[in-house]
Symmetry: C2
Subunit: 414 residues, 2 copies
């Protein structure tokens, strides 16, 4: 039986690793900064191991710093049931993003073991490394390494301090040879992940749990605007080619366009101007572009309309603009069988779970795109996401763990 108090205690315990409350910001919530491939993430792996080992789990870390806790099954060679989430956070993030999925996976599997369930196949709890990509700018790192989807050279990608991914891994005692992290998708019966929703839809619907049908595709790009740098006092308004004013028109256009395409979202999260002095008209402006939608056509549509409006903004201007695509993540439909299983499992704990599209990327994309039958369950969360105020109530988390337990029992004992 899922032990809600134990689950709550463990969420709290895990949140102490990397805890970075900032009293000056007057946030009455636990802030967590547990970056991927850091010493803090390593301590989180040790803590989770200490929860599972007493229940017969064998711990293994792979060369990408992913943690696997394997609970034995009758047939040690049968494809395993894999369940978990990630252990890292963004800087000044919250207690639940990633962490809740690992805590609930542990609670579900340990509850099954405690209840005397006999696994026909091994069950593994996984704690993925560096999902957020906050330090090296490359998200879903650990799960990408495990499913052969890593498009990055670990020796060359470096953090702001000049440390490469490979160096960070070696500092944690790993070989840095990521080929050794690869798993055979055929060796995995199913992958299940529980995660906070990171959006307000479950809260609005009054539902503690949701089942994910698809994970959105993402387009990341960089927009560069070139205007004419000039003196802020001596250049009359009609003679200006201000790169920031042009960028402002583009940012507003992007928001309007994304609002008009159902299910699409678009965000400018980074912006810089050159030369960046208060008495100089910006000659250059660079900003990031993040476009997401559950259908590739919608992403393409937002991008095309944005380009068209940008060209219109610049049509009669001496200014120029360009777009550099950085990364595209494909739309990921999840497995229908797992979706049904999770929906029924939620129903068993009294929750009629709505089906949702995930607007955030998740580790689940990597096994799913590699052919592993993959399912995701969302837990209602309030107070935003990637911030110390993100919050999932223990009652909701416990319902999620219980639904997960039922689904794992179905997959592992049959």
């Amino acid at each position: 039986m899922t032990d809600a108090a134990r689950l709550e205690r463990r969420i709290h315990e895990l949140a102490q690793i990397g805890r970075t409350d900032d009293p000056a910001r007057e946030i009455y919530a636990t802030a967590v900064s547990r970056l991927g491939l850091s010493a803090e993430e390593q301590r989180a792996r040790d803590l989770v191991t200490s929860w599972c080992a007493p229940h017969g789990a064998t711990a293994r870390r792979d060369p990408a710093a992913n943690l696997y806790l394997r609970f034995p099954g009758a047939d040690p060679h049968a494809p395993v049931v894999l369940v978990g989430s990630h252990l890292d956070s963004v800087p000044m993030g919250g207690r639940f993003d990633g962490a809740l999925g690992v805590c609930c996976a542990v609670e579900a599997v340990v509850s099954l073991v405690e209840s005397g369930a006999r696994f026909a196949r091994p069950v593994e709890v996984v704690g993925w490394a560096d999902e957020e990509g906050a330090r090296f700018g490359y998200g879903l790192f650990g799960s990408a390494a495990a499913f052969g989807r890593l498009r990055v050279d670990p020796e060359r990608v470096r953090d702001k301090g000049g440390t490469s991914i490979a160096e960070a891994l070696r500092a944690l005692g790993e070989s840095g040879d990521l080929a050794g992290a690869m798993r055979d998708p055929k060796g995995i019966r199913a992958y299940l992940e529980l995660h906070i929703e990171q959006g307000p839809r479950l809260e609005r619907a009054g539902a503690p749990l949701g089942v994910v049908s698809d994970i959105v595709g993402i387009f990341h790009g960089l927009v560069m605007v070139r205007g004419e740098q000039n003196h802020a006092g001596a250049t009359v308004m009609g003679e200006r080619h201000d790169a920031l004013v042009a960028a402002s028109h583009m940012i507003i256009a992007l928001e309007r366009i994304a609002s008009s395409v159902p299910d699409a979202v678009a965000t400018v999260g980074e912006i810089t101007v050159k030369p960046g002095a208060k008495n100089v008209i910006p000659g250059e402006c660079t900003f990031s572009l993040d476009i997401r939608a559950p259908k590739q056509e919608s992403i393409d549509l937002v991008l095309e309309r944005f380009k068209a409006e940008a060209n219109e903004i610049f049509r009669k201007s001496l200014r120029e603009w360009g777009l550099r695509p950085l990364q595209s993540v494909a739309v990921t439909p999840l497995d229908e069988d797992q979706r049904d299983l999770l929906w029924k499992s939620a129903m068993s704990v009294g929750v009629n779970a709505p089906t949702l599209v995930s607007g955030a990327g998740h580790d689940a994309q990597n096994p799913s795109l590699a052919g592993v039958p993959t399912g995701m369950i969302f837990v209602r969360s309030t107070g935003g996401s990637h911030t110390p105020t993100e919050f999932a109530a223990t009652a909701d988390a416990a319902l999620g763990a219980k639904a997960l337990e039922i689904a794992i029992r179905e997959l592992a004992t049959a």
Copy 2:
């Protein structure tokens, strides 16, 4: 007689100090980075001294690192004629901003001396220190110190490397005690300054010279927008409180408002967002405000309309905004007698000089506000300002030096 070739040679010679051409930027012009209170600015003072000493000038540096080159007059106690400009530049600036005024002052006075003119009163060429404020963020530094208008503690204001103004002065061999830089305004008959226009009006008018009637007032402030930081993927468009989108509306409103108020200009030259990650909706945005006009009422009008439009933008929003005033520089009308003298002097060299308002701040503001009869002459400049492409033709510069020579003769020999 003004020697145009000598003037051209000296402009070139001075531009070698702090020369920082960047071949990667493909700018086929001389870039100059000669920051205020730097070793380069000091070398510029030494060079200008070497031009004047052979003609009987005595050099003096004051505790604010201003350079005075005094040419004797019949009455050593009579109020002096002061003429010059500043010797520093912005980073990656051009050859003419400030430097041209010093070179032309030297050329004008030396020409008079060479022609055998007898000064009734002393004539001083001045090279002001740190007009741009690029390093310490405080412009018009040297002239402010000379006229008791310094509103800064030299021990506390520091550059990015942690060096204070006083430490920088001591490294140049000055005492750092700025009280010793004060001059008695009554001891100055008149202050004349030649400067490039830093705008396109003379070029448009086909006029090589212009006479300045007023220097604009400036309001500098910082706008802070607080929205709601949230996940870029999981937050639907209708639920966002994006600080950057709100800031974009404000930036566009500011441009429209400034364009509607005659003679006013407004610029946003700096902008930052927090947390500044491409997958996070900005929760905070901060940007600078630079508003200028030749009438204080116009500055106030732009500011009031901006506040009203901003309040309207935020009226139905959960977002908040605030404005922190940083610095206000009063509108400075220049002396009518000096204006007439410079206009007649320009006429003597064949130029019908238009009267202009200066949109840029200048050292001339400080003696003028202290009660010194002050005049300014602008030389036509193309290719912008505060950039390596700024350009004043030798023929135009020589006309300016010649007009200056005529005005100085009028003031110093009478």
